[in-house]
């Protein structure tokens, strides 16, 4: 059946379509102007450039995490968590007032999420789960790596001890233990590697029989070597075997068996078989029934490896340069948890309606600019900047919601740039008039002195205006 005359499809500028592009451009210009003005007034025009980059990369990562294919998902992980952690670290470590920095960051995130259309309940929830998964894998990976390194170190010490052993019994014991482990690893490799699947169908039955024989032989060798390893100490205790083996012909053989010439290849085969079996198992596990959830899991695992490989050198360098390496490590581990806390708070705000579902980016931008204005006032920056920030927040809210309404009524196909620019000019004009008017009042207040322009008197005046305008309720 015909669904109606509207057959719109989402455009590249998100589901809301082109009319948002104009409003978002105005919002972005307002935020950039406020950030630049604040930086200039504080003597550093590039004050927010670093955090702007991090905020942009983290939102880009959030957007990529919303994709369904593996490549963008992995890149999204690698962008989001480090950049978002960096934003929080900047907030904590920056000398700029928290309210000012936090407000500007909120406004930047609002504009960026507006462009990419990702500030919704579903997207934020999906990002939280996916990123938390990658963080969990990274932490588990660190633990597994530490354990594996410990086991490898113990094995290496045992191997070097066997190689240097002068006792023939110890040499035989070490050799049998190594053969046992090697047989088990080879058995595992044959079990996990898809050798039969890769064999031509015509030779598959013959090859299957061969591999069955190999497995039986490996099982027998492993069992025999294991039994030998267990029984050798008892045999040595209850029989004069050690004296027999110390005799000249056996002594030379024992020395050969405990040399690198024999033990080295066996150890190499053991390690190779173990790696092959593990790799085949991991690949099979994560690629069976490759669907959306598999993409998320595999993406999280690859991203966790990426964190370890790419970020470990950076963290190590920071640890070396920093006076307190423990704090760096703790920060690297704990900052992601703070990121997830922020995401959960955002999710709660969306669920409770504090952030309107469709207009969340506009609301976030406006709230950020007003919060930054409060920070600017606390930092004793000029009152005009404070008024500009507040007016900017109102302008971004006005044009943002106007663009959304326009799209909701007309879809994204019609060309509405002129319409929106016309509205935007009036919105900015009212803001500029307001800034000039309140700037003049502020100037008058300061020139008159504290008698009339005191904070108490101003508070009473504002309260009166609020009461007068309350019936309008927006």
């Amino acid at each position: 059946m015909v669904g109606g005359p509207r057959l719109d499809t989402p455009s590249a500028v998100g589901d809301e379509g082109r009319p948002r592009a104009t409003s978002l451009t105005i919002a972005a210009l307002v935020v950039a102007a406020f950030g630049l003005a604040t930086g200039v007034l504080r003597g550093d025009p590039q004050l927010f450039s670093g955090v702007a980059l991090l905020a942009g990369v983290s939102v880009a990562g959030m957007t990529l995490l919303d994709r369904e294919s593996l490549g963008p998902t992995v890149i999204g992980h690698l962008c989001f968590l480090p950049a978002a952690s960096g934003v929080l670290a900047t907030l904590v470590l920056s000398p700029v007032e928290t309210a000012l920095m936090g407000g500007v960051v909120l406004a930047m995130v609002g504009v960026a999420t507006g462009w990419t259309n990702v500030l919704g309940t579903e997207t934020v929830a999906s990002t939280t789960v996916s990123s938390a998964l990658s963080y969990l894998f990274a932490v588990v990976g660190i633990i597994v790596l530490v354990l594996a390194a410990g086991i490898a170190w113990v094995c290496w010490r045992l191997l070097t001890a066997v190689v240097g052993a002068t006792s023939p019994v110890a040499a035989a014991l070490g050799l049998s233990a190594l053969v046992c482990v090697s047989a088990i690893c080879l058995f595992l490799a044959l079990w996990q590697l898809p050798v039969l699947q890769l064999t031509a169908r015509s030779r598959r039955a013959e090859r299957a029989a061969t591999y069955a024989r190999c497995k039986r032989v490996l099982g027998a060798v492993g069992l025999g070597a294991g039994v030998l390893t267990v029984l050798t100490p008892f045999v040595v205790v209850f029989t004069p075997l050690d004296r027999v083996l110390a005799a000249p012909p056996f002594g030379a053989v024992a020395g050969l068996l405990s040399s690198w010439l024999v033990l080295g290849p066996i150890a190499a085969v053991t390690v190779g078989a173990l790696l092959a079996a593990t790799g085949a198992f991991v690949l099979r596990t994560f690629t069976t029934e490759f669907d959306h959830s598999s993409v998320r899991a595999v993406g999280a695992v690859v991203a966790a490896l990426g964190y370890l490989l790419l970020l470990a050198p950076v963290l190590l360098r920071l640890s070396i340069v920093s006076a307190n390496p423990g704090a760096v490590f703790a920060g690297a581990v704990l900052l992601p948890l703070a990121v997830y806390l922020v995401l959960v708070l955002a999710l709660g705000a969306l669920k409770l309606g504090l952030l309107p579902e469709r207009a969340a980016p506009a609301a976030l931008t406006a709230a950020g600019l007003i919060y930054a204005s409060i920070g600017a006032a606390q930092a004793d920056l000029p009152a005009l900047l404070v008024f500009g920030g507040v007016a900017g927040g109102l302008v971004t809210w006005d044009v943002g919601t106007y663009g959304l309404g326009l799209t909701a009524e007309l879809g994204h196909r019609p060309e509405t740039r002129r319409l929106e620019l016309y509205h935007g000019v009036f919105a900015v004009g009212v803001g500029v008039l307001g800034i000039l008017l309140f700037g003049a009042v502020e100037l008058a207040r300061q020139s008159v002195g504290t008698a009339v322009g005191s904070s108490g008197a101003m508070a009473v005046a504002v309260l009166g205006v609020l009461l007068l305008l309350a019936p309008l309720r927006g």
Binding site: D398, T416, Y422, L437, A459, L466, G474
Partner: protein, 453 residues
Amino acid sequence: MGRRRARWRGAVVAALALAGAGVWAGNGALLLAAGLPLSYLAYGAVSTASVPAEMTVSRAVEPTPAPPGHPVSVRVTVTNESEGPVSDLRVVDGVPRDLSVIAGSPRSGETLAAGESLTLEYTLIARRGDHDFEPPRLRARGTGAAEVATAVQTPDGDDRLVCRLDAEAPPLSDQGNDRVGQRTTSDPGDGFTFHSTREYRRGDPVGRIDWRSYAKRGELSTVNYEQWVSTAVVFVLDARPPSRVTAGPGRPTAVELGAYATTHALTSLLGAGHEVGLAVVGIDGDGPGGLAWIPPGNGSDQRSRAIDRLEDAAEAAERDPDGEDGGESGTDKGGTAEVDPQQQFRKVMELAGPRSQFVLVSPILDDGPVTAMEGWAALDAARTVLSPDVTAASTVSGQHEHVRRRTRLARCQATGARTIDWQRGTPLPLVLDYAFAVEARRPDGSVHPGGGV
């Protein structure tokens, strides 16, 4: 007077937050800044909206009447005849519910100065019937966008799209004699294939004089060709449930497209003096064996009778797409529940007789028409399959169905039938010209492979 919308509740919250922060920090600038949101609140409150009464609206629909499946362009122009500007005007045209927009948008918005116009242009796909447009809705907002005024204005110009099967009936061919017959007789006359020569008679066309013979013998002689004669053509419209499908929402069914093609073809053939018959397979008719049947003829009312039957078939396809209806009262014509299509195909063969040509109009979405073609091959009559393509190429299943349909067309061709694949976007006159007139002018009457138009 318009309706107000709350757009600045957030501004009230912002004012309270700034005032609170100002009081908390003892900061006069923040307290003053709390007044800024209130200025926007006031701006929204004083901004009013109304749709000027001097606004004029006109609509042009072209072409109307239009044949089924034909793109129809709609142009709506809204002009601000008032003396002041309209800061925010949004227009939504009332597109008929059964039609779908395939290009453009029936919605638009603009800031209109005095005397300026806003134009909406969009394209619909026509479906059979009369489709009334709703009047466009105009919605205006003030500069603050807090107040909304909506008006419905009846436009000048077209308010209806008429879609008829017999709309725009062009001739089948701009040249030639419109002969469809592929049979030759032993009688000499006009034609293409050499038959004999005879003595020149006064008035013979110059083009038929045998100039080579004149050069040899010095005597004028006239060439006779095998004369082409027309035969009865029976159109068989496939209106069975498998053919009652569309290529997408708001598009005509394959039965409707087939009825349109049949209407044009029989109109042109009747105009050229040929005998034309019609059978509709898939609905319960009142003819022999329950077939909707019009025997070949060329009377003055033959066309209107045929169009009535085709309208009934298209109506039945639209009313009962699944073919589960037994008729309006169980016994009326148009029902499909009790119909045996293969028996109807066989009945067509009996009724038409061996001297008729068959033109089967079907989307060929199942094996039924192929079986019928194989059955009609026993008559050794000229057969043509005209197949409107309603498969969707944008989906995997659609492409699969498209391949299966092409295979069925090839099977029809293997029986000796000529197959014409009427793909979407190809004008029907071009298809019909290719299907009949070109074939008729070929001297050997042989069937060539291919058929995609």
